[in-house]
C-alpha cells in the first residue's frame, strides 16, 4: 500500500515549515508513525517541559483521526496513566480537514487548559477540583522530573 499524497505533503510541510514548540519526525521504516515532541505551553504547569508523544496515521486517515498518545509521564486530568488523551477532535469531532499539525496544536492547547469536568484520569481530576493549587504543584513537579529537555535541546 503506497503512502497517500496527502501524508507525504503533510510530512514535507512539517519539516520545511515546523510549528514552533512542536516537532514531528516520521519513522524511517514506517512513514505513518511519527515521533513527536511538544513543548509545555508557557504560563502553564507544564512550562519548560518537553513531552514525547507517538502519533500513528491509520490506513483510513484522513477519514479517521490519527492515534496520539503521550509517552512522557504527565499529571493532567485529561491524560491517563497510559498516555491516552481525552480530546474531542481526536474522537467524535475529528474532521478530515484537520491535519497532523492542527491536532498537535490542539494537544498543546489542552496542556494550557486542563478540563477536570471531562476527565480521563479520575483521581487527577478529583484532586484538580478539590485543591487546584496542590494539583498544579504536582503537575509542575512531574514536569521537572519526567519532562526535562534533553541537553542538546537546551543549546
Amino acid at each position: 500500500m503506497s503512502l497517500p499524497k496527502r501524508i507525504i505533503k503533510e510530512t514535507e510541510r512539517l519539516v520545511s515549515d515546523p510549528v514552533p514548540g512542536i516537532n514531528a519526525v516520521p519513522h524511517e521504516e514506517n512513514l505513518r508513525y511519527f515521533d513527536v515532541t511538544v513543548d509545555g505551553p508557557s504560563q502553564s504547569p507544564y512550562e519548560g517541559g518537553v513531552f514525547k508523544l507517538e502519533l500513528f496515521l491509520p490506513e483510513e486517515y484522513p477519514m479517521v483521526a490519527p492515534k496520539v498518545r503521550f509517552l512522557t509521564k504527565i499529571y493532567h486530568p485529561n491524560i491517563d496513566k497510559l498516555g491516552r488523551i481525552c480530546l474531542d477532535v481526536l474522537k467524535t469531532n475529528w474532521s478530515p480537514a484537520l491535519q497532523i499539525r492542527t491536532i498537535l496544536l490542539s494537544v498543546q492547547a489542552l496542556l494550557g487548559a486542563p478540563n477536570p469536568d471531562d476527565p480521563l484520569a479520575n483521581d487527577v481530576a478529583q484532586r484538580w477540583k478539590e485543591d487546584e493549587r496542590a494539583a498544579i504543584a504536582t503537575a509542575k513537579e512531574w514536569t521537572q522530573t519526567y519532562a526535562k529537555p534533553e541537553p542538546e535541546a537546551e543549546t
Binding site: P4, W94, S95, P96, A97
Partner: protein, 398 residues
C-alpha cells in the same frame, strides 16, 4: 515471468493515459484551490450549501463517515452538495502543470485539462506499443521513427564491450556506462576500462596537474611525474602551512569581530541597559530587513500593476483603431451614397429644365413664375444634402 512484465507495462501505459491529477507538479498553486481533505489541487470540485469547496470524491468519502461539513461541522447530506460555479471548474482546469513524464525528460507544461491529450497524442516519453506486430512490449514514443518500416526495438543485441545481450533501445545508454568499455587516456595513451577510470585519472603520471600551492600563488603546471621534483624546490609550498595558519586566525578574528559589532559599545553600562539596547538593536535589524522585504514586494507589485495597465491600454487602443476603421468605411459608403443622390437630383433637375424650356416656348407668360419654382426646388435639395452631411459629421465626431 514475461507475462507479468507485460502486464505491468500495460498497466503503466494505461495510467499514463489517465494521469493522476493529485500526483502532478503544479507550476503555481493558489491555496484557495486546494481541497481541505486531500490537500491537493481540486479534482472534479463540488460546492456545499455552507459555501465550502472539496473534490467530489473526497467529500462523499468524508460524508459517508460523518454527515457534516469537514470544515465547519454544519450538518450536510448528499443533497446539499452542489455542482461548482463554472468559474471554479475553469480555474482548476486551467491550472498549469508539468508533464507527468517530467522525470523521464519531458519539459512540457500545459493546462491541466490538456495534459491527457498531450500524453495520449504528442508526449515523446509516453510508452506506446512496440511497432512490431509480434512484440507485446512498450517503447517511449520518441524511439519510433514513422519514416522507417515498423520493426521491434526489443531485439537483444550484444554489447560491444561486455558481450551481455541488451534490448536495442537500451543499448546506447548501456554502452555509455558499461564497465567493460575501453577508453584511451588522452595523456599517456594507456588503454583502460570504464571501471578503472577514477583510479587511472588520479594516478596517470602524464596528466598535467597544477602545483599544490596554486591557491597561494604558485603558477607551476606540469605532468604529475615531475610534481614531486617541483615541490621540493617550490617556495610557495614551504610557506603554505604558515599562510594557512594565518588565514585560519583571520577567519576566527573576523567572526569574533562580527559578533562584537552586533553588540553596540554599551558593555560598560549595567547589564540591564545592555540587554535592553541589544533587544532594541535586534528589533531594529528585524524591522530593517522587513522593510527591505516590503519595499521589494512593493516594487514587484508596481511592475505587475504597470504591466496590467499596459495590457489593458493595448487592448483599448486596438479597439479604438478597429472602431476608427469601421467608421472610415461607413464614411466612404455615405459619401458614395450622397454622390449618387446628388447625381440623381441633378439629372432630375436637367430633365425638368428641358421640359420647362419647352413649356416656356409654348407659353411665355408663365415662364418667370416657373423659373422661380425650379430654383426653389434645387436650393431645397442642396440644403437637404448639406444638412444630412452635417448630421453625419456630428455622428462621426461623437
Amino acid at each position: 515471468m514475461d507475462e507479468q512484465q507485460h502486464n505491468s507495462a500495460s498497466e503503466q501505459a494505461v495510467s499514463e493515459r489517465d494521469p493522476d491529477l493529485r500526483a502532478l507538479k503544479y507550476v503555481m498553486l493558489d491555496d484557495n484551490l486546494i481541497c481541505p481533505i486531500c490537500r491537493c489541487a481540486l479534482v472534479d470540485p463540488c460546492y456545499t450549501k455552507c459555501g465550502h469547496t472539496f473534490c467530489t470524491l473526497c467529500l462523499f468519502k468524508a460524508l459517508s463517515q460523518t454527515p457534516k461539513c469537514p470544515v465547519d461541522r454544519s450538518s450536510l447530506s448528499d443533497a446539499d452538495v452542489l455542482p461548482p460555479p463554472k468559474i471554479l471548474s475553469n480555474m482548476v482546469n486551467e491550472l498549469l502543470v508539468h508533464c507527468s513524464n517530467e522525470d523521464k525528460g519531458c519539459k512540457r507544461t500545459c493546462q491541466r485539462s490538456l495534459l491527457r491529450h498531450h500524453l495520449l497524442e504528442s508526449c515523446e516519453y509516453t510508452p506506446v506499443p512496440c511497432p512490431s506486430a509480434t512484440c507485446d512490449q512498450f517503447v517511449e514514443r520518441r524511439y519510433i521513427d514513422s519514416e522507417k518500416p515498423a520493426r521491434c526495438l526489443h531485439e537483444l543485441i550484444a554489447c560491444r564491450a561486455c558481450d551481455v545481450k541488451i534490448p536495442e533501445i537500451e543499448i546506447a545508454t548501456h554502452e555509455l556506462v558499461c564497465s567493460q568499455r575501453t577508453l584511451k587516456c588522452p595523456d599517456c595513451a594507456v588503454v583502460f576500462t570504464m571501471a578503472d577510470i577514477v583510479s587511472h585519472t588520479s594516478e596517470c603520471a602524464m596528466a598535467r596537474v597544477p602545483c599544490n600551492a596554486n591557491n597561494i600563488g604558485c603558477k607551476w603546471v606540469g605532468i604529475r611525474a615531475k610534481l614531486k621534483n617541483h615541490e621540493s624546490e617550490c617556495t610557495f609550498i614551504a610557506l603554505a602551512p604558515v599562510i594557512e595558519k594565518q588565514e585560519d586566525r583571520i577567519a576566527r578574528l573576523e567572526l569574533e569581530n562580527k559578533s562584537l559589532r552586533i553588540q553596540p559599545s554599551l558593555t560598560t553600562t549595567s547589564g540591564m541597559v545592555d540587554s535592553d539596547a541589544f533587544h532594541i538593536f535586534t528589533e531594529h535589524e528585524r524591522f530593517r530587513s522587513e522593510l527591505e522585504k516590503v519595499s521589494e514586494q512593493l516594487g514587484e507589485l508596481e511592475i505587475r500593476h504597470g504591466v496590467l495597465i499596459m495590457n489593458q491600454n493595448v487592448r483599448l487602443k486596438e479597439e479604438v483603431q478597429s472602431m476608427r476603421n469601421a467608421m472610415h468605411g461607413i464614411r466612404h459608403q455615405m459619401h458614395f451614397l450622397l454622390m449618387e443622390h446628388r447625381n440623381w437630383a441633378l439629372q432630375n433637375l436637367n430633365s425638368s429644365m428641358i421640359t420647362s424650356a419647352a413649356a416656356s416656348l409654348s407659353s411665355q407668360t408663365a415662364s418667370s413664375s416657373n423659373n422661380a419654382q425650379f430654383s426653389g426646388e434645387t436650393s431645397s435639395i442642396g440644403r437637404g444634402t448639406r444638412r444630412e452631411n452635417e448630421s453625419f459629421r456630428q455622428d462621426v465626431r461623437l
